[in-house]
Subunit: 332 residues, 2 copies
């Protein structure tokens, strides 16, 4: 496959650009009118054998998943997503159809998220590499939520449920067989791993509701909450018992011989958001503060309180964990 | 080497951000105040064994070269460069020092070019991958020069000299030995390959002078001029005899047993600019039109007329070439 042939074919797959996109594929660079004075930019790369295995996922899944991981970083800033730029490293043995299937999987998610894939680069490589640079926009940087704003007294909450992607990966890798699960649930868990959903609307609503620090759960709650703790200079106390487990995680964890909530706290790639919010949100979405629509978004995302920010040496502690999670306190 | 350890160390190497950069490394995304309403974005990836060989270049060269190739795309749009975002795929056997040397090489060029490396991603990979997403800014998209604006009657010109990077590569790969060259010249040619200079100031001046189409020479003049021809729907007639050869190219080409001007027309990676400009620039920099400063930039870049845009089927023809280059007329 020649690179130029792939680039031409990509123009078909990625054809529909937002009217803000003045130039996209086929020139030296893409030209995009911003939607606010501030660009919010993140890069996320996935490599075969490191972040996925080509034999275990369809090319469409791989494309979707790489873009989802990148957009999840914008969600964690509370940014409105705008454009994505792809980088594909294509090894021998991956043909034009498969490379276009990667792009199609990404394009489906881009369309759902209102994102234009406006350009990029393709090259030969010894293993499949799929990297996305994503750009969101903000009129005022104060709207955006970093990792460094958590303060003692804040509530720590997560969107959705945890452990689903980890359980799905165990199924994809055939380390677990889901004998105890109905087929629909096993499929759903595989989907949590193969096609994660970046929590873009939830990130913006959490920002609007006053979240002070936020991160997306790519490496697992224990590790990712640690990044907030370190950047904010605070201690984060979490409760394993409070973690919202995805359906089926208990059964898969039992099959793997691990404690389900520890599994959910350390398995990564759920791409849920972990936010530190002022006390006002303690009892769930702040209906009084924010109106029914915002509360609705967060209720659909199932915001769950899982702990608190306290004074103390920067780190994460699970207040009700056994020995197995105690190391996370110093894991960074 | 742990990824987090590298990221922490990168913050030291890439420390100096422009005041427009509100957030950079260490958060989910970088936040940057734009310098104009339009973002100009390009991605360029380089892979060990495809675009370079780790044994032949120092890590600093590899970092410099990857960023230079990406910035060269902004030069070819006539955009003012702003930020860069890195993606490093690091194989086993490359340690922290070497990874930081990649970043240091890129940072040196970034500082020269007034670019902030504001974020990115690092991951394990089976081979070294160095990719940069670069962002430039423009207040008005009309200031930017695409590949599609060439019109019959335009003059085709290039900055600088050609063939130097190709000759340098022959020296780096020890296909040529430079016995006929003084040591300083051999070193200069190796530098043309290892540390190319993106023609950012020249791109903006060519844009200001009214260039209608522009591209940077990464794949070689014959191929790259073909992209302009195809996108603009024009025929480009070039003269081999007019090509400005870099010093030493004639000697290296002789050693390789190839015709020097054909070598210069097809060897890539010079990262000079090829521009189609209205007739007014025919006799060199348009001093009368543009003032001494602009003319000075282009004179220092050594703008050379190498051909014309004419009516006819889209393609490139070398009017004075032998058989060896006739294929390029249909090479895309």
């Amino acid at each position: 496959m020649r690179e130029l042939e792939l680039i031409d074919a990509l123009e078909e797959v990625l054809g529909r650009a937002s009217p803000r996109v003045v130039r996209s594929l086929g020139d030296d660079a893409a030209v995009v009118r911003g939607r606010g004075g501030y660009a919010v930019t993140s890069v996320d790369a996935m490599v075969d054998g490191v972040h996925f295995r080509t034999g275990q996922l369809a090319p469409e899944d791989i494309g979707h998943r790489a873009l989802a991981a990148a957009l999840s970083d914008l969600a964690a800033m509370g940014a409105a997503p705008g454009e994505a730029y792809l980088m594909f490293g294509i090894p021998e043995g991956i043909g034009l159809d498969e490379a276009l299937a990667l792009a199609r999987g990404a394009q489906e998610l881009a369309s759902e998220a209102g994102v234009t894939i406006a350009g990029g680069d393709v090259t030969r490589a010894p293993a499949l590499v799929v990297s996305f640079t994503v750009v969101g926009w903000a009129a005022d940087p104060e709207e955006l939520v970093g990792r460094d704003g958590a303060r003692p007294g804040d509530v720590v909450a997560v969107t959705g449920t945890l452990g689903g992607a980890g359980a799905g990966l165990a199924l994809v890798e055939e380390r677990a067989r889901a004998r105890a699960l109905p087929p629909g649930l096993a499929r759903m868990l595989r989907g949590r791993y193969a096609r994660p959903t970046p929590r873009l609307a939830e990130g913006r609503e959490l920002s609007a509701l006053g979240a002070r620090a936020m991160i997306d759960l790519s490496d697992g709650l224990a590790t990712d909450a640690g990044h907030i703790a370190r950047r904010s200079g605070v201690r984060i106390e979490l409760s394993l018992g409070a973690l919202p487990l995805a359906d089926g995680v208990a059964e898969i964890a039992a099959e793997l011989g691990v404690e389900p909530r520890s599994f959910a706290a350390t398995a990564g790639e759920d791409y849920e958001l972990c936010a530190c919010v002022p006390e006002g949100l303690r009892d769930g979405p702040a209906v009084n503060d924010s109106g029914a629509q915002r509360a609705g978004v967060l209720q659909r995302a199932g915001l769950t309180r899982i702990g608190s920010v306290v004074e103390g040496p920067a780190g994460v502690a699970f207040v009700d964990a056994g020995d197995e999670l105690s190391g996370y306190e110093h894991a960074f």
